[in-house]
Amino acid sequence: MTAAVAIRSAAPAMTAPPPLVRLGAVGKTFANGVEALRGVDLDIRRGEFLSLLGPSGCGKSTILRLLAGLTGPSRGSIDWLSTNHDLGFVFQEPTLMPWANVFDNVWLPLRLAGASKASARQRVEEMLAKVGLAGFERAYPRELSGGMKMRVSVARALVTRPAVLLMDEPFAALDEITRMKLNDDLVALKCELDATVVFVTHSVFESVYLSDRIVVMAPRPGRVVAEVHVPTPSPRDEDFRLGAGYAAICRETSRALHGAMGGGVSEGIAAG
């Protein structure tokens, strides 16, 4: 197995599904003058698991916020090429409403779209079952472990069956064992729902394990410097993680990231 590493301009013309959203020469400068993004061209394709990988300050979270419509681009364009552009967002923290129980938290997106409790019940319970939390409807967030709270957060993001699931280093605060389990469940869920995921991470190993495609970014200003394709089909398992192909792609990705950091700087490359 060979790792298909390509610099942006020479991305391989695979049998790619049509893009869902297209970022054209997107730039973002904050009010304080910091240039967060410069000239980002990026297609997000239907059904892919795309990781944005890079050190702190490379603008990967800004891309998520732009996609979510929480902020607008300073330059360039973001074009949705599909009619459905409902979104789900999973933050680094679970970001649950502490006064609401699990059911009400997951119900929230549907409720804001006008669905009554009765009409949302089936969808909420179904999604909770999918993330492995059936029976926890009446629990309050503070009664749950960190991993379970994250599962609620994922269920809430997916309950509207969004076109794109945006995840901002979602499992970074969890312990290694919980994170690996959640990663596996996430990929299984993504395959089952045929969802599109944009996943922000600073872990090379996590991004290679999860993604179909990794976009490597560099800071100051935030920009895309390389793209790595992971050809092994999802869902993957422990054998993949221990295989030679995985190691090779990790090495290539790491090298791309290293290049992005200007070669000499290495402390920004987070491992594991």
């Binding site: 979510a68 929480l70 967002f89 970001t95 409403m97 502490p98 006064w99 997106p109 804001l112 503070r142």
Partner: protein
């Protein structure tokens, strides 16, 4: 666990009873005249004997305290909501709220007594001291909302109104209840201070007025009896607001949670 509970309830009760017993014994053994220091038993007797007068005064003070607290709660919470929704109004009016708060109520009371009739002046004083902590706490609560939750509501295109009802108000609730607990105690203090400032001019005849009046008449046991009722009122307000806060937050807020040990 068991001994812990015993210590938590029995110990303070025993200490309290012991203190009262010591007081009673000191007065009896040394034959201290009631004008200097009445014994607890004499205070209790006075409380029963003068109940009609004292209860009337309690009603007055309690009435003013509760009216002031309700007005301060409604006013403070409402103003905090307005501040949170329209920042320019906060910038314009917050200094007034601060000035009102930092100026000791005793120094405003004589002025208010000139402009207003005494019972209204007392009410306004109690309102002024209870108002600020409720306003400040609620405003703090409304502005310290999880930004990610705000982003989430914005992403799902929640209206400003729903954001307020489903997110801001609930998220500010623990802060508001904290303000209410402080405000409850302060409303009583404000009412008492204003009654004392009003002194003999006060026609309302609340508990503080009774204390001043009994002092003039050297009726020290009645002074203590009135003081006792004020303490009981304060403790009752504290217990009620604390219970309310616990009741509203126990399902979800860390402040209402016992730590697992």
């Amino acid at each position: 666990m068991k001994t812990d509970k015993v210590i938590r309830y029995v110990l303070p009760t025993a200490a309290f009873v012991a203190a009262i017993g010591l007081w009673e014994a000191t007065v009896r053994i040394n034959q201290i005249p009631p004008v200097i220091l009445p014994s607890p038993s004499l205070i209790a007797t006075t409380l029963v004997k003068d109940w009609r007068t004292l209860f009337g005064s309690l009603e007055v003070t309690l009435g003013i305290t509760l009216e002031a607290l309700v007005a301060a709660t409604a006013g403070g919470a409402l103003l905090a909501l307005i501040f949170a929704q329209w920042r320019p109004i906060e910038y314009a009016f917050f200094p007034f709220a601060v000035i009102m708060q930092v100026t000791p109520v005793v120094s405003i009371a004589p002025l208010l007594l000139i402009y207003l009739n005494p019972s209204v002046a007392v009410l306004v004083c109690a309102f002024l001291v209870a108002f600020f902590p409720i306003l400040a706490n609620t405003a703090l609560g409304l502005s310290s909302i999880d930004h990610n939750l705000l982003d989430l509501f914005q992403m799902y295109k929640a209206s400003r109104w729903r954001q307020l009802l489903w997110l801001r108000i609930l998220s500010a609730l623990p802060y508001f209840l904290g303000g209410l607990r402080i405000g409850g105690g302060l409303a009583l203090i404000g009412a008492i201070v204003a009654e004392i400032a009003a002194g003999s001019a006060g026609q309302g005849a609340g508990l503080a007025f009774r204390i001043v009046e009994s002092g003039y008449r050297l009726n020290i046991p009645r002074m203590f009896a009135a003081l006792f009722l004020i303490s009981v009122t304060g403790v009752a307000i504290f217990l009620i607001t604390t219970a309310l806060s616990h009741l509203m937050l126990r399902r979800w807020h860390d402040s209402a949670r016992g730590r697992e040990t």
